[in-house]
Symmetry: C2
Subunit: 204 residues, 2 copies
């Protein structure tokens, strides 16, 4: 019988998406506390850093010119313009992490997740949701940095994005004060995906 | 947005199967320590109790006549003769537990799991495997109670059963001394299945 399942353990590509303000960044920080077995994709963006954000950790902050050059050199797995800001996933970074056997976790907006789904159907797609629209609105207000117009735009987009829920494999609810429960959900999903009898083999 | 996902939480039917001697019973005992959220199906059988086995806990021990009557009254979800002994799942017990909102866990041999898969395709099917044939053989020897002929028969059956692995959703490896890891795998699978955007709605 041997160990046929154990031997061919395939690294996963895990997409964590959801509306703006739902807590994707906070969830990723919590996951980073839990395990060093993952590679967390660092997204490239041409937007300005928010207070406290660190280049190479939160994002690769690049100029718009540098971003456009990466597109032209086909160095981005996916890229999109969201609220006038460019965001993209450096392709080589994902390949290298998976080649080293690590599960790769990427945080991406809902529009980007749709692109990844088309390009990499084997990716595990997780939709992070607030427990209600009110909760999401409060979080966006508390985060600050948005004008009333921007806030309204984000909420309208969030409402639209909820309709794409069924396109994802899993939905994880990020309830107020229960971030660790959401993190435990994601860890359970990753553990479970490694138990599948038909593994999702990612080819980039 | 409301809580559309949270509100329609569907109870799961979880099938735990695998070769004779792989540790299904030990795994179930471990799971019982972890959670009171589950209902563990008590199988009916006409075989004699092994030392320490309790009626109504390990099995419903019935006479062959009583067992046949249950079949005739269509009271069994599934039944089979394994090694000359009858085993069956009382249907009403499963319905009642799910109606109360509990996830139902049933331990069943590989032959029975195939029947459940046909009758209840929405069931979550977990195959419990030893990490090697040698390990399985040792466990069967240590368990005792089998003649050399019976032992050889069980091992031959186990080899055949491994070919049905791909018919299951998940494979969990029960390594020597790592029963808790196997239990954690199963708990992760259950947690994950409740996060599916397309829940498996069981109808019996």
């Amino acid at each position: 019988m041997g160990e046929p399942y154990h031997l061919d353990r395939h690294p996963l590509l895990i997409v964590i998406s959801g509306p703006s303000g739902v807590g994707k960044d906070a969830l990723l920080w919590r996951l980073k506390e839990h395990s060093s077995l993952f590679h967390f994709v660092v997204t490239a963006t041409d937007r300005a850093p928010r207070p406290g954000e660190v280049h190479g950790v939160d994002y690769y902050f690049v100029t718009t010119e540098e971003f456009v050059a990466m597109i032209e050199e086909d160095e981005l797995l996916e890229h999109a313009i969201v609220y006038g800001q460019r965001k993209g996933i450096p392709k080589q970074q994902v390949r290298e992490a998976m080649a080293s056997g690590k599960d790769v976790i990427m945080r991406i907006d809902v529009q980007g997740a749709a692109t990844i789904r088309r390009l990499v159907p084997e990716a595990v797609q997780i939709f992070l949701a607030a427990s209600s629209e009110q909760e999401l609105e409060e979080r966006l207000r508390n985060r600050g940095g948005d004008s009333p117009d921007q806030l309204e735009k984000r909420l309208a987009t969030a409402r639209e994005e909820m309709h794409q829920l069924a396109e994802f494999d899993y939905v994880v609810i990020n309830r107020d004060g229960e971030l660790d429960q959401a993190a435990q959900d994601v860890l359970a999903i990753i553990r479970t995906e490694h138990c599948r009898t038909k593994p999702r083999v990612v080819e980039l």
